[in-house]
C-alpha cells in the first residue's frame, strides 16, 4: 500500500523503507553449473585441444611463429591506432571471451523496487556537478488510469514529498510504477561510433566516457544516443553524460545514485565476477534492455520493465 501511495505522489515520504534484502533472485546455484557447461563448450571441453600439434619440424615452427607474430601485431599495434574503439570492443567482448583479468561493469535497475524518492537524482547532481536544466539520470513515473490513458512524467529531485505536485487519486489508477534512466553504457554505442574526433571512447572496463580535452562540441553524439542521455554541458561546452560515476567505481565505490537509493532499486557491480549481485541476478531472473531492436547492446539491464518504457 505504501508503495502505491508513493507512486501516485501523495506526499508520503518512503524514507528509509529500505530492506531491499531479498531480491527474489534466490537459487543462484544453477548459475555455476550452467557457467561450467558454457565454459566447457566455449573452450571445447577438457579434451578440446586434442590435436596438440608438436613443433617437430622447421616448417611447423615457422608457421607457428608467423601466426604468433601476426597475432601480436593485431593485438598490439593495430589497437594502438584505433585505441578507443579497440578498448571498447575488448571490454564489450570481455563477458563472452571470459578474460580473467578484465574488469567489466554492469548495472541493473529493478523497476519493481523503485519508489520515486528522487534521492538518486540529487545525489547525481551533487556528485557530478550537473548543471540545472540537464540530467545525467532521471526517473520516469508511469501511471495507467482506469480510463485507458497513460500519464508519464518526471519524478522531482526532491521526491514527491518535497514537491508541490498534486496527488493522484488512487481510485482512478489501475497500476503505476517508476522507471529510472541513466546511460545504458552500450557495448555497441552509437554515440561512440559517430564521434568524429575520438573524444567519445570506451574505458577498458566497458564504460563510455568523453575526453574533455578532445571534444569539439559538434553534438553528433547527442543526436546519435537513442536514450537521450547525452547533452552539451553549457558550462564546459563539451558533450556530457552519465559515466556510472567512473571516478568512484574505479576506486571500488558504488555510483552515487546506487549509494543514495534507499530501496536497492539500482544495483551496480562487476559482470566479470560471477559472485557479484548483478551477475547473479542477470543469470537467474528475466531482465530486459531499452530499445533492444536498435542493436546497441546496453549493459544497463532492467527488471520488471514494462513495454511502454522506451
Amino acid at each position: 500500500m505504501t508503495f502505491e501511495l508513493n507512486i501516485l505522489g501523495n506526499h508520503t515520504n518512503c524514507g528509509d523503507s529500505g530492506g531491499c534484502g531479498d531480491s527474489g533472485c534466490g537459487g543462484s546455484s544453477c548459475g555455476s553449473s550452467l557457467e561450467g557447461e558454457l565454459l566447457s563448450s566455449l573452450v571445447g571441453g577438457e579434451g578440446g585441444c586434442s590435436e596438440g600439434p608438436d613443433v617437430s619440424s622447421r616448417r611447423q615452427f615457422l608457421k607457428k611463429a608467423s601466426t604468433i607474430a601476426f597475432g601480436t601485431f593485431t593485438l598490439t599495434v593495430l589497437p594502438m591506432s584505433v585505441a578507443p574503439q579497440s578498448a571498447g570492443e575488448s571490454a564489450a567482448g570481455g563477458a563472452l571471451s571470459g578474460a580473467k583479468d578484465e574488469v567489466l561493469y554492469g548495472f541493473l535497475v529493478d523497476t519493481n523496487k523503485c519508489v520515486g524518492t528522487g534521492k538518486c537524482l540529487s545525489a547525481c547532481r551533487v556528485e557530478n556537478d550537473v548543471p540545472e536544466g540537464y540530467a545525467r539520470t532521471w526517473v520516469e513515473r508511469f501511471v495507467h488510469y482506469k480510463d485507458g490513458t497513460l500519464q508519464v512524467d518526471l519524478v522531482p529531485e526532491t521526491g514527491y514529498a518535497g514537491s508541490d505536485l498534486p496527488a493522484i487519486d488512487p481510485e482512478l489508477v489501475d497500476r503505476a510504477y517508476f522507471a529510472p534512466k541513466l546511460c545504458n553504457q552500450c557495448a555497441d554505442a552509437p554515440c561512440n561510433q559517430v564521434c568524429p574526433v575520438h573524444a567519445s571512447f570506451t574505458s577498458p572496463e566497458g564504460v563510455e566516457l568523453i575526453d574533455p580535452e578532445r571534444c569539439i562540441g559538434c553534438a553528433y553524439c547527442v543526436q546519435a544516443c537513442p536514450y537521450g542521455v547525452r547533452f552539451i554541458n553549457p558550462e564546459t561546452s563539451n558533450a556530457d553524460k552519465c559515466t556510472w560515476c567512473y571516478h568512484r567505481i574505479t576506486k571500488n565505490e558504488q555510483p552515487a545514485c546506487v549509494e543514495a537509493c534507499p530501496v536497492g532499486a539500482r544495483v551496480f557491480g562487476r559482470l566479470d565476477d560471477p559472485e557479484s549481485e548483478v551477475s547473479k541476478r542477470l543469470a537467474t531472473i528475466p531482465t530486459s534492455v531499452l530499445k533492444e531492436h536498435l542493436g546497441t547492446h546496453p549493459k544497463l539491464h532492467y527488471v520488471g520493465l514494462s513495454g511502454e518504457v522506451i
Binding site: 568524429p196 562540441g217 547527442v222
Partner: protein, 385 residues
C-alpha cells in the same frame, strides 16, 4: 492511448541550430552549381556555355564559406582541426576533412585552369596593383601555348569528370550523416543521401538561374534565352526527381506506419505544418512544378519566360531551404521518448542567430562579386560566357 506530453529532460535543448541547416544548403548549392558546369565541360551541353564559368565560380565561392556555419555551431571551434588531424574511422562526420578539402582543392585547380589564359594575358598586360594580383594568380607561369592550352582543356575535363562523383560524395555524405542516425526515425533512411543530392542539384540550378537573370539585369544585357530555357528544363526534371524521392520517403513511412509514425505524423501535421506542408510541398514544389513547363513553352515571350523561370527558381530555393530546415530542425522537435515535442527558439542575434545566418549567405555572393571583378565571367560584348 498515451498522453503525448512527456519529453526526456535533456531533449528541450535542441543541439543543431540554423547553422546546421545552412551547411547542407550551401554544400547543396555547390554541388548543384558544379553539376551545371560539368554538363558543359563533360557532357558538352553547349547550350549551357553562357553560364558554365559562372557555375564553376559560384560553386567555388559557396564552397569557400561552407565551413563557416559549422565553425559557428561548434561549441569548441578552437578544436575544429581535430576532425582533420585525428579523425575517427567509425564516424561518418570524420569524412568531412578529406571530402571537403579534396573538393575545395579540385574546385580551385579547375577554376584556375579555366581562367588561366585570361589570367596570363592580364598578368602580361596589366601594370600596378592589378598587374601584381594577376602575376600572383598566374603562379609564375606566364605563357599559354596551343600545347599547354590543350593540356589545360584535357585536365579541366578530367577534373570535371572527377568532380561529379566528388560533388555527389560531398553532398551525399551530408545526407548520410542524417540517414545513419538510427536513434531518429525522421532521419534514419538509406534514401536520405539521394534525397539530399537530388535537392542539391535542384537548388544549384535554381541559384544559377536567379544569379544569371540578376547579373543580366544589372549589366543591362539580355540573357541567352536558349541557355535559360535549357536550365529551366533541367530544373524541372531535377525538381520532379527530388520531390518524387521526398514524397516516396514520406509515403513509405506513412504506409508502413511503424512504431514512431504517431509522432512523425503529428510532427508533420502540427509542428511542421507551415514549413513542410505549406512552404516545402505546396509553394516550393507544386507551384514551380506547374510554372516551369509553362515558362519554357516555345510560344512564351522572352520577358515572360524570364519572369516565370526566375520566380519559380526563387520558390525552389525557398523549397530546398525549407526541406533542409524540416529535416534538421524537424528531426529535433520530438523527444526521443516519442511522447512529446519541444520548441526550437529562433534568435536574431548571437553566434547561431538569424543575422549570422544571413551574413553567411551573403558572403559567397560578396565573393562572387569580387571574383567577377578579377575574372572574366562574361565577354566584352555583354553575353555571359
Amino acid at each position: 492511448m498515451s498522453d503525448p506530453s512527456f519529453v526526456f529532460p535533456n531533449d528541450p535543448h535542441v543541439p543543431w541550430s540554423i547553422m546546421i541547416v545552412l551547411y547542407p544548403y550551401i554544400t547543396g548549392l555547390v554541388a548543384g552549381a558544379f553539376v551545371v558546369s560539368a554538363l558543359y565541360h563533360v557532357f558538352h551541353q553547349e547550350v549551357l556555355k553562357p553560364v558554365a564559368r559562372l557555375a564553376l565560380v559560384t560553386a567555388l565561392c559557396f564552397c569557400t564559406f561552407a565551413t563557416l556555419p559549422l565553425l559557428l555551431h561548434l561549441h569548441h571551434p578552437e578544436r575544429a582541426f581535430n576532425i582533420m588531424i585525428t579523425p575517427s574511422a567509425t564516424s561518418a562526420m570524420s569524412g568531412f576533412g578529406i571530402i571537403y578539402n579534396f573538393y575545395m582543392l579540385l574546385l580551385i585547380v579547375e577554376v584556375w585552369l579555366v581562367f588561366r589564359p585570361e589570367i596570363v594575358e592580364r598578368a602580361n598586360s596589366k601594370t600596378g596593383f592589378q598587374g601584381r594580383i594577376y602575376k600572383l594568380l598566374a603562379l609564375g607561369n606566364r605563357e599559354v601555348t596551343a600545347t599547354s592550352h590543350a593540356a589545360d582543356e584535357w585536365l579541366i575535363r578530367v577534373l570535371a569528370i572527377v568532380g561529379i562523383p566528388a560533388a555527389c560524395v560531398l553532398h551525399g555524405y551530408v545526407g548520410f550523416l542524417f540517414g545513419g542516425v538510427k536513434a531518429n526515425p525522421w532521419w534514419s533512411t538509406a534514401l536520405m543521401p539521394i534525397i539530399f543530392l537530388a535537392s542539391a542539384i535542384v537548388s544549384g540550378i535554381a541559384a544559377l538561374i536567379v544569379l544569371y537573370l540578376f547579373i543580366s539585369w544589372r549589366r543591362r544585357t539580355p540573357p541567352d534565352l536558349a541557355c535559360l530555357r535549357a536550365m529551366s528544363h533541367y530544373l524541372w526534371i531535377s525538381l520532379v526527381i527530388a520531390v518524387s524521392l521526398e514524397m516516396l520517403e514520406m509515403l513509405h513511412m506513412a504506409y508502413e506506419s511503424g512504431a514512431e509514425w504517431h509522432v512523425l505524423s503529428t510532427l508533420i501535421t502540427e509542428h511542421l505544418a507551415v514549413s513542410y506542408g505549406l512552404i516545402q510541398v505546396l509553394i516550393g514544389s507544386l507551384v514551380p512544378f506547374l510554372i516551369l513547363p509553362m515558362a519554357i513553352r516555345p510560344s512564351r515571350s522572352p520577358r515572360s519566360m524570364m519572369w516565370m523561370s526566375g520566380f519559380a527558381s526563387i520558390l525552389i530555393l525557398v523549397q530546398v531551404f525549407a526541406m533542409r530546415w524540416n529535416v534538421v530542425v524537424g528531426g529535433q522537435l520530438f523527444s526521443k521518448s516519442f511522447r512529446g515535442f519541444v520548441e526550437y527558439p529562433v534568435h536574431f542575434g548571437g553566434r547561431e542567430g538569424l543575422f549570422a545566418a544571413a551574413v553567411i549567405m551573403l558572403l559567397p555572393l560578396l565573393g562572387l562579386w569580387i571574383a567577377s571583378k578579377l575574372l572574366p565571367l562574361w565577354d566584352a560584348d555583354g553575353a555571359v560566357s
